[in-house]
Amino acid sequence: MSAYLTVNQQDGLTQISLHNDWVFANLAGLQQTLDAVLPASEGRVTFRCSGLRELDLAGAWVLYEKSMDFEELGVKTEFEGFQSSHLKFLQHIIDLAARKEYVPGFFDPKPSHFVRDGIQRIGANTIEAVDSVGFIARAVLDGIKRPSRLVIGETIRQVHSCGVAAIPIVAVVCFLMGVVLAYQSARQLEQFGANIFMVDLVAMAILRELGVLLAAIMVAGRSGSAFAAALGTMKLTEEIDALRVMGLNPNQVLIIPRILGLVIALPLLTVFANAAGLLGGAFIGATVLDISGFAFSERLAVAIGLDDALVGLTKAPAFAFLIAVTGTLRGMQVKGSAEELGRLTTVAVVQSIFLIIVADAVFTVVYSRIGF
């Protein structure tokens, strides 16, 4: 009848002879063939297995399932001529399984509780936020209370990897931003023959806002993610636990140096960012807009004062703190799986950029209120 079995029916007695390989690789075909077999309404079914070439556990399992189906229909089944102990083994496992507790709903889709889940999530997030604030306070307090000797070296390392190493990319990005600003403002100012005021616009935008903002966003992408990934991996490999056991407080040796390092590095990086931005503006002025380098710098001295530069630079430590705290906090929250590590690294970056922009808005409002 088919490649796997032949059926012989005689007055209530069904004989099913099995052929070929009843193995995992043929499972789909086996199931189809078996589904097509219908027994005589009552009587007995005999599986004759002597013609089997090979049988593995999966093959034995479909046979067993079929025999159970027959039994449920009130048909007695028996097996003939098994050479291997597979069926016995299978029976043994299934008996074991029957003795184990049944877990209700294991395969059923879970009912959806939209509102309840939503409220639970809000609660969980609130607790997490409170927990985070406590965690940061604890870390900072630890750092102040018992400064470790290891902090200095580690901080310098962080200044290097987050600050010095980031100079080229930040400089390029800000140079290009200077170029863009110069072009865009020149197009408007040309209409009034006021090309030279391009210098005011570029300098204001770069020094007060964009230099520090771009530097902070680049650092959030570079270092925020690195912090989260590094601490998260250390958490997964129990390195953090190892530090604790050795009497080192991870807050002190891992988190404080990262916060300190970034708070030192970002303002310095901002200086480079500002310089590169202005250079970009000057470059376009000299090459496209007929404003010589000398004219640019002369106008610059008139247009801006020290306070403009300070507006940008004073934001930098705050941004740095936000980036470092978010990155390290998310890293320390990793537990369990590699997937969690990836998720929290993403969260660290997205959240720190979000916080930077919120903080920037706050700064701008406050500074303009106090006339800074």
Binding site: L27, Q31, L57, A97, E101, Y102, V103, S337
Partner: protein, 268 residues
């Protein structure tokens, strides 16, 4: 051709070098069908490198490896459906539950309906002595012993012909380790399985292994344990002369598991 050869794995002239350090020099090894072969050796003798070479995860400098009549090439598909591997740490995918971990190879290598796939996975999970509560958990929620069992269930998902175990009882407490040994013996007795295991556990060696391969002097010495203990090599003498090994040998002589239908106990 399949099913006719006596040796399921044969290694010829295997050479593995790291820089100037030679780990394996012209190593030859045959693994017989249906045996349990234990691989032992001091640290740095290349047990893991040997295993990784057989699995195609490491490209040897020289030599041929054949598994089930198929030549193994570095990082190329091997007989994936016919071997299962239990890695030392379990190597379960941490983002999936135990159930999903066991279903994964079945889903990858067949187009069975979801229902069948699930039930087959459950069967394998029961087979290694876990229950549905454990099946619904993520690997990091399991104890070390349960993680090994779950990983074993995944290794057995495709009805493999060969099972590789990398230090299966390392990191388990003695009771879990003994249970795991019993489980291995039980599976071997009831499935057509060839088992190759790296182990340092002398109890495992004496209680379940048919033959033992000792990595010494960049080569390999394979024999039954009864013969090996008489071997003149100093490392082998030291290894089997160790009080722990002597005790294990005596214990094994008294009670060698018959591999029959003994109940599986879930240890955790």
């Amino acid at each position: 051709m399949a099913g006719t050869h006596e040796h399921v794995i044969s290694i010829r002239g295997l050479v593995n070098r790291f820089g100037s350090q030679v780990v394996h020099d012209q190593l030859e090894l045959d693994v017989r069908r249906d045996e349990i072969l234990g691989i032992v050796g001091g640290s740095g003798t290349g047990k893991s490198v040997l295993l990784r070479s057989i699995l195609g995860l490491h490209g040897p400098n020289e030599g041929d490896i054949e598994v089930l009549g198929r030549k193994i090439r570095h990082l190329e598909p091997g007989p994936h459906r016919q071997w299962g591997v239990l890695f030392q740490g379990g190597a379960l995918l941490s983002g999936l539950t135990v159930q999903e971990n066991v279903e994964l190879p079945i889903a990858l290598h067949s187009n069975l309906p979801v229902e069948t796939r699930r039930e087959l996975a459950v069967l394998k999970i029961f087979m290694v002595g876990l229950d549905l509560t454990a099946a619904a958990k993520y690997p990091n929620e399991l104890s070390g012993g349960m993680r090994k069992r779950a990983s074993l269930a995944r290794a057995l998902a495709l009805e493999p012909k060969i099972l590789f175990l990398d230090e299966p009882t390392a990191g388990l407490d003695p009771i879990s380790a003994t249970e795991f040994d019993q489980l291995v013996g039980f599976l071997h007795a009831n499935l057509d399985l060839t088992i190759v295991m790296i182990t340092h556990d002398v109890d495992t060696l004496f209680s379940v292994c048919d033959r033992v391969a000792v990595l010494v002097n960049k080569g390999i010495i394979v024999d039954t344990l009864d013969e090996l203990v008489k071997h003149p090599d100093p490392w082998i003498q030291q290894y089997f002369g160790d009080p722990r090994a002597v005790r294990a040998r005596q214990a094994a002589r008294h009670a060698r598991p018959d591999g029959g239908m003994q109940p599986i106990v879930t240890g955790d």
